[in-house]
């Protein structure tokens, strides 16, 4: 195996007062190979988003504090990277899709403009920017892309907005796409469409995807490997099939049981028993 695309080592991030810190991420280490799909699973507040944002130092300091760790992307250290290099990394190498498409798009700019910004920032060589934007929108399945460039975010449905976010992320052909709960804010049918779209894009490009979710159901047929986070720590990791079949940690087991199985009669959702985990 060649050198990994991304390597995170002993990442530690805190919030709150220094004398009583909230350890949002506490000694997290993992690695990703090029083209690999890694799922990060964990309940709300377990530190998934904080980890994801830290990959390009997107957390505002303060309130956040990077207390330990190293992040290497294609062999370069992100933690000590100067600002211009960091900006070249963001969007160009590592692109993001966020949980809430409606608030993640700027309401006063057209979607065309917002995609254009990304392209102009990282691909100055592109002549036909407009054509490139249209292509990006086509790619994510927005019909009549050319006529929708002038639309404002609020004129689109939630699913469409998330597609625009994906188009924007893919416009610069990043090596790593970080999708932070890309479907949580959407309703079930749209969720499926977006996941199908991501799956399709994954097969078309050789892009690595870091999928963040709290839903093991999304993971099983999508991710190559899984990392399970619990209260800022990684409690289990391994190939998806293996983790699903033989979960080692009680928390993982509890998470897996939370997923209602298709075809099975709807039972009461199981409540995680924290007492048993600690």
């Amino acid at each position: 195996m060649s050198a990994p695309l991304l390597r995170v080592e002993n990442l530690g991030i805190e919030f709150g007062p220094a004398d009583a810190p909230v350890k949002a991420v506490d000694g997290v280490s993992f690695a990703m190979a090029a083209g690999e799909t890694l799922a990060v699973v964990g309940e709300s507040g377990s530190g998934k988003s904080v980890t994801a944002l830290a990959l390009t130092r997107l957390l505002a300091t303060p309130p956040a504090r990077y207390v330990s760790g190293a992040i290497q992307f294609q062999g370069r250290e992100v933690m000590t990277m100067p600002a211009p290099e960091l900006r070249a990394l963001r969007g160009k190498q590592i692109a993001y899709i966020f949980q809430e498409p409606s608030s993640s798009l700027n309401p006063v700019f057209t979607i065309g403009y917002q995609i254009r910004e990304a392209i102009e920032q990282h691909r100055p060589e592109v002549r036909d920017v407009r054509g490139e934007i249209v292509r990006a929108l086509d790619l994510v399945g927005i019909r009549d892309a050319a006529t929708r460039l002038g639309d404002y975010p609020h004129q689109l449905s939630g699913g469409m907005q998330q597609r625009v976010m994906i188009a924007m992320a893919l416009a610069c052909q990043p090596n790593l796409l970080v999708a932070d709960e890309p479907t949580t804010a959407l309703d079930v049918t749209i969720q499926k469409q977006i996941m199908d779209l991501l799956r399709e894009l994954k097969s078309k490009t050789n892009m690595a995807i870091l999928l963040i979710t709290h839903n093991f159901g999304l993971v099983s047929d999508f991710a190559d490997r899984v990392v399970v986070m619990f209260r800022g720590k990684i409690v289990e990791s391994g190939p998806t099939a293996e983790v699903l079949r033989h979960p080692q940690h009680p928390y993982t087991r509890a998470l897996i049981e939370c997923v209602p199985k298709l075809g099975q009669k709807q039972r009461r959702l199981k409540v995680i028993d924290y007492a048993g985990i600690n």
Binding site: R87, L89, G91, K92, L105, H122
Partner: protein
């Protein structure tokens, strides 16, 4: 968007009626006029009215009619902007106002533009350095300025830079020099500008506090928004994130604040025009109040209210135009 604007326009109608009703009440409840309504000989601020003035007052304001008819007549008169004739020089009130409104409008307009030019950057700076020394300093200074009465500032400025006790940089009073009529175009304009500097400063500094505070809050609200994270994640520079992405959002509510400043500015022109002897509407109304020239007073009050109402209307329409969320409803 059209429905929004239409709805807004419809709301103007009751307000307009309210304004006319309030001016009507002011007239009928003024002690002198109230006496006339009761058939007594009215007084004009402690002085007995002459028969002629009494006649004119009764006729213009319909004091001999029942309130409803009188109000109807008042509305008709207002629709024609007919405020009668000045008791002082017997010229139509509307003509007198027309002669003077230009100066006051340019005065308030310049003050408004200037306060935006200063207060918006200041407010943004405060928001970007929230809670730090700069933020506190700005807050201190704008409130200090806000707390100085206009006439005190005017006096001090005149003492320091006009009139010659210390510096003699600017003229002390008037809208133009005495020999202005003989000046060439550009010289005249420069002369006018020099005469306007101090008055505009006096009108401006008080608005800095509210506009800059408003900008600060608006900016702070935007700075916490998710889409800025998206912009940063795209690799945009911090400057671009703030001055393109954030600012555009923060400015939307600020463009409409100008209307709220209008009443204070119009009040300010009364003082400023009085101090600097500028022949504007503020001076007109002040002289009329001193002369108990109630036709002119009511004319100026009504016109000022109409202008302010128009300002509010413009602000709301402007809001629709600059905010795409409402524009494409």
């Amino acid at each position: 968007m059209t429905t929004y604007i239409l709805r807004r326009l419809l709301l103007v109608i009751p307000t307009l009626f309210g304004i006319t009703l309030l001016t009507f009440l002011l007239i009928r409840l003024a002690p002198g006029n109230a006496a006339l309504i009761k058939g007594q000989t009215g007084e004009n601020g402690g002085h007995a009215m002459t028969a002629e003035v009494r006649e004119q007052t009764i006729k213009l304001y319909g004091l001999d009619k029942d309130p409803l008819t009188a109000y109807g007549d008042w509305l008709v008169k207002l629709a024609h902007l007919d405020f009668g004739q000045s008791l002082v020089d017997h010229r139509p009130v509307l003509t007198k106002i027309r002669e003077r409104i230009g100066l006051s409008v340019s005065l308030t307009g310049s003050a408004l533009v200037l306060s935006y030019l200063i207060a918006v950057p200041v407010g943004i700076a405060a928001a970007l350095r929230r809670g730090q020394r700069t933020d506190r300093m700005i807050s201190f200074v704008v409130f200090l300025l806000y707390s100085i009465p206009t006439f005190v500032a005017a006096l001090v400025l005149i003492l320091l830079v006009a009139g010659g006790d210390y510096l003699n940089l600017l003229p002390m009073y008037g809208a133009n020099s005495i020999d202005a009529s003989e000046m060439s175009g550009p010289a005249w304009a420069w002369d006018r500008i020099k005469h306007m500097i101090l008055p505009v400063i006096c009108l401006t500094y008080g608005s800095l506090a509210s506009i800059s505070r408003y900008t600060r809050v608006s900016m702070l609200e935007v700075l916490g928004q998710d889409f800025l994270r998206t912009a940063r994640a795209k690799g945009l520079s911090e400057r671009r994130v703030i001055f393109s992405q954030a600012l555009r959002n923060a400015l939307i509510p600020i463009v409409t604040v100008f209307a709220m400043e209008l009443p204070a500015l119009i009040g300010g022109t009364i003082i400023v025009e009085e101090i600097f002897t500028l022949p504007g509407m503020g001076q007109l109304v002040f002289q009329s109040i001193e002369a108990r020239d109630q036709f002119v007073i009511m004319g100026v009050v009504t016109i000022s209210a109409f202008v302010t109402l128009f300002g509010y209307l413009m602000a709301d329409i402007l809001y629709v135009l600059v905010d795409p969320r409402i524009r494409f409803e």
